[in-house]
């Protein structure tokens, strides 16, 4: 890449071209990180099945019992349908919130140093990690879908709706996995991370509309749940996944909140991730 740009100085076309090639590089670098994750899943898919146990238990034990309680789900929506969207979000959340531990692993080995010594912008690396978490979560979603269909949940199989669900899951997982990466950058050891991860998942999950509507909550918890991004992810999933699902906040707001939160977290994480090589 010539710094001089020829005797006449850089022409508009050249500037345009380097800008384009920079974007292309950025996309490739982001994809490099995500593709590596997909390859790892391909080599060792067992993990996907072991992780599927938890959503199965929630739907089959908790869901079947709670379905007998009347008036939890709003309108005429069966509780199991209501819960299915929440559990879909939950299974993605649980994968994402512990995702940062892989960054600690990579730091303790030397893989992180390899990433950081490359010319890839830190934000591309962080974004690549976020997409990887999304890919992992999509495989979880497939299992929840199959299970929900078996349990007789009225699922909307319109390809557009499925695409919308996939988008919400990737975005939501990116959001929480990036939060997880930030925590990993702060605590730096696996032991401390596990502790904090456990402490975080509970409030994020219960202070949301994943398993009951916000209208049942005491006012203070209602407020907390309204600033919880998981609430918006669940709201979007409920509207897109179920034939009888409706969104309380509107899909625009749901996706807007998730996208904005993800953007802020990626920017913060990019700063911190670069310093993890110390």
């Amino acid at each position: 890449m010539a710094k001089s740009g020829g005797p006449a100085g850089p022409s508009a076309i050249m500037v345009e071209r380097t800008f384009r090639s920079r974007i292309a590089d950025y996309v490739t670098q982001t994809w490099a990180v995500a593709a590596a994750e997909v390859q790892k899943l391909y080599h060792d898919p067992l993990e996907l099945f072991t992780r599927a146990v938890q959503p199965v238990l929630w739907l089959m034990l908790f869901g079947e019992v709670m379905a007998r309680v009347r008036g939890v789900a709003p309108g005429n929506l069966p509780y199991l349908d209501y819960l299915a969207a929440g559990i879909l979000a939950q299974s993605a959340l649980f994968v994402a919130i512990f995702y940062g531990i892989s960054a600690i692993w990579e730091h303790d080995l030397g893989v992180l140093q390899r990433y950081l010594a490359s010319p890839a912008p830190r934000s591309a690396l962080v974004l690549g990690k976020a997409i990887s978490a999304g890919v992992r979560a999509l495989s979880q979603a497939l299992i929840v879908y199959i299970l929900a269909l078996l349990l007789g949940v009225a699922i909307n199989l319109n390809p557009l709706n499925i695409a919308g669900v996939a988008a919400a899951i990737v975005l939501g997982s990116g959001l929480f996995s990036t939060l997880s990466l930030i925590i990993a950058c702060v605590v730096k050891t696996r032991e401390r991370f596990m502790g904090i991860g456990q402490v975080l998942t509970m409030p994020i999950f219960f202070a949301s509309n994943a398993i009951y509507p916000l209208s049942l909550m005491p006012p203070w918890l209602n407020v907390v749940s309204h600033v919880n991004p998981l609430t918006y992810e669940v709201d979007a999933l409920r509207a897109l996944m179920l034939t009888r699902g409706v969104s309380d906040y509107g899909l625009m707001l749901d996706f807007g909140v998730m996208a904005a939160a993800t953007a802020v977290l990626v920017a913060v994480a990019a700063k911190m991730y670069g310093r993890m090589g110390y």
Binding site: A32, A36, V111, Q113, R114, A117, P119, A120, G277, Y278
Partner: protein, 276 residues
């Protein structure tokens, strides 16, 4: 970017370090280090544990920013142009940097993408590099199943895909058996003779440094204690001296003065782990 060494003129050293300093609280890990390394040189960094070698290398690879001073690598400044520096160097960390849950080929592909190797050339370059490192047959096996020597060769191949002007190897032969060690050095020498790459290598093994490096810097307590060809350094100590003698003569004095016991060792080891 395909033409190599676009910025540096032949007379310009590949690496020029000036007054580079890094402090961690009270500890000065690297203390006003200045060095000049010529293109095509194999330059060895030796010194006791915690001397500051890894901190120095972390600054040269832009993973750590200096407290003061700077360095220029292939014409780019590590403080002002870290991204350009990263583009022009290859780095083989001391720790395990190949991903064991990916195959050799996938590890190479990851590096090729991160370093912007053009898509059309990726496959060919990867296959050629793997073959050169004797890994063609194992290309599609998981790196987790490789031997120590194979992993090192894979890591070196990964750091060379983008044809860096300067290759930085942090303890490349640590933990390898003698045969694997020789193979790694063979490849390093071949890189120099065929492609005229500049290399910075840290090591604890005086005999391999003596045998393979053009010049050496001995670092102790963050400072450069001596620089020169192995022959020059040995001549300083006396006739018939080995590099071990040089090391012991120049470094041993302080080992005795600060005999520490467990607490000291623990502190030192932690310091090495945290910031080498």
């Amino acid at each position: 970017m395909s033409e190599q060494n676009s910025n540096a003129s032949p007379a310009e050293p590949a690496v020029r370090i000036s007054e580079l300093t890094r402090r961690f609280g009270d500890l000065t890990a690297v203390d006003r280090v200045s060095l000049s390394i010529a293109t095509g040189e194999i330059f060895g960094l030796i010194g006791p544990n915690g001397a500051g070698k890894s901190t120095l290398i972390r600054m040269l690879t832009t993973l750590l920013s200096p407290t003061s001073g700077t360095a220029t690598i292939a014409g780019h400044d590590i403080v002002n142009e870290p991204a350009e520096v990263r583009r022009h160097i290859g780095y083989v960390p001391q720790l395990l940097s190949a991903d064991g849950s990916l195959t050799g080929y996938e590890n190479m592909l990851l590096s090729a993408r991160l370093y912007g190797v053009p898509r059309a050339e990726r496959k060919q370059r990867i296959e050629r590099a793997l073959a050169r490192m004797g890994l063609a047959e194992a290309a599609h096996h998981l790196a987790g199943h490789y031997s120590g020597g194979m992993i090192r060769r894979l890591e070196i191949a990964q750091s060379l895909l983008h044809r860096p002007e300067v290759l930085i190897l942090d303890e490349p032969t640590v933990g390898l058996d003698p045969a694997a060690r020789d193979t790694v050095w063979e490849r390093v020498l071949e890189l120099r003779s065929r492609f005229h790459r500049t290399m910075i290598v840290t090591s604890h093994l005086m005999n391999e440094v003596d045998q393979f490096c053009d010049r050496i810097a001995l670092i102790d307590r963050g400072r450069i204690v001596a620089v020169g060809t192995p022959a020059e350094l040995k001549a300083r100590v006396g006739p018939g001296a080995t590099l071990d003698d040089v090391f012991i003569r120049l470094v041993a004095a302080r080992e005795e003065e600060q005999e520490g016991g467990y607490g000291e060792v623990r502190r030192a080891r932690r310091a090495i782990r945290d910031h080498g």
